[in-house]
Symmetry: D2
Subunit: 136 residues, 4 copies
């Protein structure tokens, strides 16, 4: 994924795109894919009944990360307030999902990796909210 080159060739992005938005778009894509895989791996575990909340949060997280990555990619008619609220919702579900996955990270490697992806995405959303002009 070469988000930086894509944004550099976007007519509405003047000069070098913000590292924060580039990173956020890529972390959202990564986290969405990882959460889908974690949900499916949890579903296949013997102890699936104990992993219901993890599966549900994984699916919520994948859905918001997908939407947020798409919204963060749009500069042609961007609405800063909408992006800010999407980033806020995304950061919150990443935190919830990371906390849940961390509870069984010692037992399930997929939850350990997924928690890391959620933490990285959470940080990238927070940085995007802090750094982007007009987003606050």
């Amino acid at each position: 994924m070469d988000t930086q080159s894509m944004l550099m060739s976007h007519p509405s992005v003047q000069g070098r795109p913000s590292d924060a938005i580039v990173n956020c778009i890529e972390q959202c894509a990564d986290c969405a894919a990882t959460c889908i895989q974690c949900a499916d791996a949890c579903l296949a575990e013997d102890m699936v009944a104990d992993l219901r909340r993890c599966i549900s949060l994984d699916l919520d997280c994948a859905d918001i990360c997908t939407a947020t990555g798409r919204i963060a990619s749009r500069h042609a008619g961007a609405d800063a307030r909408v992006l800010h609220l999407a980033l806020q919702a995304c950061a919150e579900i990443c935190r919830s999902c990371a906390e849940e996955c961390e509870r069984h990270a010692g037992m399930h490697e997929h939850c350990r990796i997924c928690a890391e992806a959620c933490r990285a995405c959470l940080r990238s959303c927070e940085e995007a909210m802090e750094r982007l002009p007009g987003l606050q």
Copy 2:
């Protein structure tokens, strides 16, 4: 779409599901589909260059409505704070998209219908935020 019957048969929904959540799920699905159609109709208009912001907001709105409808449907491991933030982001994009569509509702019937779908979805998100226990 028979969301009420689906939720009544959900093991985690005790008794009759909240009308607010049922309506919100259905309005999100309706608004997402309408926004996808409005974006494509705008793209086909002669004056497409004047409709860039409308297309972009339509696509943002479709993506958040899809994610929010999915999150509102999940009760197996629900996280009220995540749902609340998703509803907030959804309400905001519905408001932005409705305002933009209303600017050319007199000229484009698809924008008039889309603005109505966005307003209905906005109201349903606000009602869901007001009525649901634990969402505030």
Copy 3:
């Protein structure tokens, strides 16, 4: 959802839109939402371990139905061959998901309703493939 009015106001749709495509778009939205709800209801059942395949097919079905409904909505630059293949994949997952849900329709009302939504969506995809000019 007033798909017919939306398509009638679309600059690329000449005259009255095909009933088959209107119905297909609406059934895809309905089936996607119903499958998301069925997956979550299955996840909350005591016998979740026996419902793994149902949950997985529900999620697949929701994802393809969402994509297919969006593609069927786009007329601005439509590629008939792509739509045909999407409809084919959508019909197949609707059939698989309906068959799986029917296995426990007697036990779980959400699976009974979901099977019906999948069957209706399957029929609408088949009709769209049969009726649309240039789709074969």
Copy 4:
């Protein structure tokens, strides 16, 4: 994105996951994100009226790639025939989108990069269809 490690820790994946499926999942995520960015960059170009078909195919491609990557990630209740049809639809839209983007790759760097992402995803879908047991 560490899809290989995620799949290695999935209870239903015996031993080392297929390189073809790992690559396909990652290319689908990459192509979906790139297509969303290309659609938005095209929308912001002065010559947007000439890029309608490109925007529409970009959006179709993003939607199928997202769905296909999710379906390819699910092994808990996998239906090989559904995955095969999704891969077929995905390969076809990637080919259409690549051909369209290549028409203006000399003028728009975002279209050049997007065409490459689509070609890579097309190859990964074809390899997944060829290599995976039970997929034919």
